[in-house]
Symmetry: C2
């Protein structure tokens, strides 16, 4: 009858793929590493995007759109940046196909259309944007420049996973320019907080705010701030990053401004981004073996109503009542769907909406109608209750809030019990192998040690938490002195 979902215990990775594919969020495409975001998945992304966009605008940012193509020579200008992105990018070398003379009906690259300089599909837009900023910024009056872009980007990843790591993905990238380092750092942290607020309050996923170690920094950044979330299999997922770029890009692209003392100075920069990868985080944080579990604030459909009837007479009676309820719920700003299609039986519909993670399901039959009640089922706890039709809108509204809170609390409880402080290398390995999650441990501060730990355990330093307390200790691996604990985990 319904679509089979692999259980988490059986095969966590397959469980995830089942949810994405059978839940109708996305599909594989014929293009290597690229996915199709299906209507249900895209509706979720629209809700996420619109909320983030409001938050960006509320913090003074405006949107713009820059070219898809980055000339090769632009990528070269910031050395660290080039190092980080040149090895995984789609390169446009020609601008025309022609009929293949040896193969009727086939096309071939027209060798006469070779570009003088290759174009890279943007893996991120620092280079193309900072080249534009040179013309846009002249004086301190032009600063700060607070611009965001919603766009597709391409990184030629070798191992891809739906939403989590795809060759092409959708994202937003903020690129700001400031007169001083302090202002730029302030912006970097401000946007990190915007991300944390969004992920916690809308996606209902708790995050840890921190700073990346130099090894894990964005290519071209002086500092990378991040929010890290924990998935149900004990692996961490980087949910968003905000970079303090110093004057690296200003120097690479010669972006100066005239300060109040009439002196030319290089501009200070930040960039920050989140992507469709967040959808992967949302799925893995809340869903269960029956399917997706959508946080109410972002759910494409918050409430579904299923009529249970025999014959058209009953159907009409139910319709007349339900259409009023639909109307009332809509007026209350609730995204509701009346699933009265003839194609499927109620049981099939229940399973389908459960699979799709609709937070609240209402079911109503002829007898319910007589008794002026309706069955209310919540997706998160699977509790059912029969409630009066009077005041159903208020009841549903409260329930959506409760579910939102419950999802966050549940994820937070899991996360909090999965931050394990350890003080020995044995313990470190054991926790990673058995319990998973974040391991809070001392580290000597060297990239070399970090690499070795990664080699032996696949765990990386997810971040140095912003709220880390100074504490004398010894590096878990080398025994060298350390002043604070950092968070290790295996990660997506």
């Amino acid at each position: 009858m319904s679509k089979e979902i692999t259980s988490r215990e059986q095969d966590y990775s397959q469980w995830y793929n089942d949810l994405v594919l059978k839940g109708g969020l996305a599909d594989y495409s014929a293009v290597r590493g690229c996915m199709v975001i299906k209507p249900y998945g895209y509706a979720l992304w629209e809700n996420m995007r619109d909320q983030l966009d409001r938050m960006f605008k509320d913090t003074g940012h405006v949107n713009a759109y820059f070219p898809l193509f980055v000339p090769r020579s632009f990528l070269e200008k910031e050395e660290g940046h080039a190092e980080g992105f040149a090895k995984e990018c789609a390169v446009v070398t020609h601008y025309r196909l022609k009929n293949d003379p040896d193969n009727k009906g086939k096309l071939m690259v027209d060798p006469d259309s070779k570009l003088e300089e290759e174009l890279v599909i943007r893996p991120t837009s620092e280079a193309i944007i900072w080249n534009a900023y040179r013309d846009w910024i002249n004086s301190y009056r032009d600063l700060p420049l607070l611009i965001n872009q919603w766009a597709n980007v391409v990184r030629w990843e070798m191992r891809t996973r739906l939403f989590l790591r795809t060759a092409e993905f959708l994202w937003q990238e903020g690129h700001t320019a400031h007169a001083t380092a302090e202002e730029a750092v302030e912006e970097t942290v401000k946007m990190l907080n915007v991300y944390a607020e969004f992920v916690e309050n809308y996606m209902a996923v708790p995050v840890i705010k921190g700073v990346k170690t130099p090894n894990e920094r964005f290519a071209g950044a002086l500092d990378t701030y991040c929010i890290e979330a924990l998935m149900q299999d004990g692996k961490a997922l980087q949910a968003g990053t905000s970079h303090f770029l110093g004057q690296n890009f200003a120097k690479a692209f010669d972006v100066k401004y005239l300060n109040k003392d009439n002196k030319q100075e290089y501009v200070w920069a930040t960039s920050w981004g989140v992507s469709t990868r967040l959808i992967g985080a949302l799925i893995m944080a809340h869903s269960d073996d029956q399917g997706l579990v959508m946080p109410p604030k972002l759910a494409p459909v918050q409430v579904v109503i299923v009529p249970i009837y025999k014959g058209q007479d009953q159907k009409m009676l139910i319709d007349s009542k339900v259409l009023g309820i639909v109307d009332e719920l809509k007026k209350a700003g609730i995204r509701v769907k009346y699933d009265d299609s003839d194609n499927a039986r109620p049981g099939w519909k229940f399973a389908e909406h459960e699979l799709k993670g609709v937070p609240v399901r209402l079911a109503i039959g002829a007898r319910d109608l007589e008794q002026n009640v309706i069955e209310v089922a919540r997706r998160d706890t699977k509790e059912k209750a029969t409630v009066s039709l009077d005041g159903i809108t208020g009841h549903v509204k409260q329930l959506l809030e409760d579910i939102q809170t419950n999802l966050f609390e549940r994820a937070k409880a899991y996360r909090d019990t999965h931050i394990t402080p350890v003080d020995s290398w044995e313990e470190f390995k054991e926790v990673l192998n058995t319990k998973g999650g974040f391991v809070s441990a001392h580290w000597d501060g060297s990239g070399e040690t970090e690499d070795k730990i990664k080699e032996e355990t696949k765990a990386t330093i997810r971040c140095i938490p912003l709220d880390a307390v100074e504490e004398e200790g010894k590096c878990i691996f080398t025994g060298k002195p350390s002043k604070q604990r950092v968070l290790f985990a295996q990660a997506y």
Copy 2:
């Protein structure tokens, strides 16, 4: 003081570029043929996109997202389609750059990263989407499939113009699948009407609905419907197209469905799109020698308020009044900006907002405050009036509606006087050379004649109007019999 705008009479084409560049809508980029859409231009596009999106959703469509890349072999599958798009496309041939061993600090294409099959950046997405639809459509229950995509596309145009024709542009593309030809044609016409309603009621640009001749059809379509607008220089501009694709793509990608009689049939298709080109149409339809003129319904800023004061005491008095007005206007759903920056004098601000086409400007000084009045200037007619502060919100609201109506009526009056019926070849050429606009003339129905007329006059058949009346006549060029008039014009 303010930015100089070339007048239309002096150089229409330069006037247009001045508006785009100095009005802050867009900028040239370092990438050939690509533009940067600046924040003010992007805010306009957001308003257009959001309204169109609402209209698409109201007509039952949902959004999705498909890959940027089209494998070469997919493009080959529909012959006419390949013919139309293969010659102007960006081709990805490699997926990696590497350090150039002969040139320190430089990158080069890594020859080891050559793709087995080249990928074309989508010039339009029929091929990639219909390849996905094969898996999505099985039975008549899956139809109709009504999907839209907001995306960037690339067509390697040799001559580009800001917004009107750029190598990369933003657009939406609807791709629908239907059980019958009738339904597909109905959808094609429905979306044409949605476009016409949007362009007329929101952009305030009158359009003629029609059908393209075979010469001007979309590559791969059986019929292309279009809306055609007229610019102030007498040139036509195709503002949107809606294509009936028949079963061409279904056959090319083998997309069949099981009908109610349990038989396999090919699906019927439509596609339809509008792009950032509409911004060019909006600019050229309404603007004047002082700058842009924005239709109120889409203007990023509908009302700007400029304080006129000497000293901070006056400023504070004005502030206290204006902030209340701003609040009231916002509550009425009006996009208002209080331009109280210290950086510029009122005269400069007036010119700047005029250049940017803000529909309504309010100016208020200390004496106005005493008299409880405010100066109201409308951008379209440049009329000024002093009105009471009591009821200013209602006044502004009404004024915005009046301006919206006036812009449409003004453009329509111009358009209507620029549809000239002619019955001789001499007259045809003279009208095109002197008056411009649409020329309504008989045509013998042959593509050859169409080509010759184009060669001699640069005029093309913009469309066969949907409301064309059957009428015996003789082709303007060949004298052969004809049954209806078609609309010729030189076009963007």
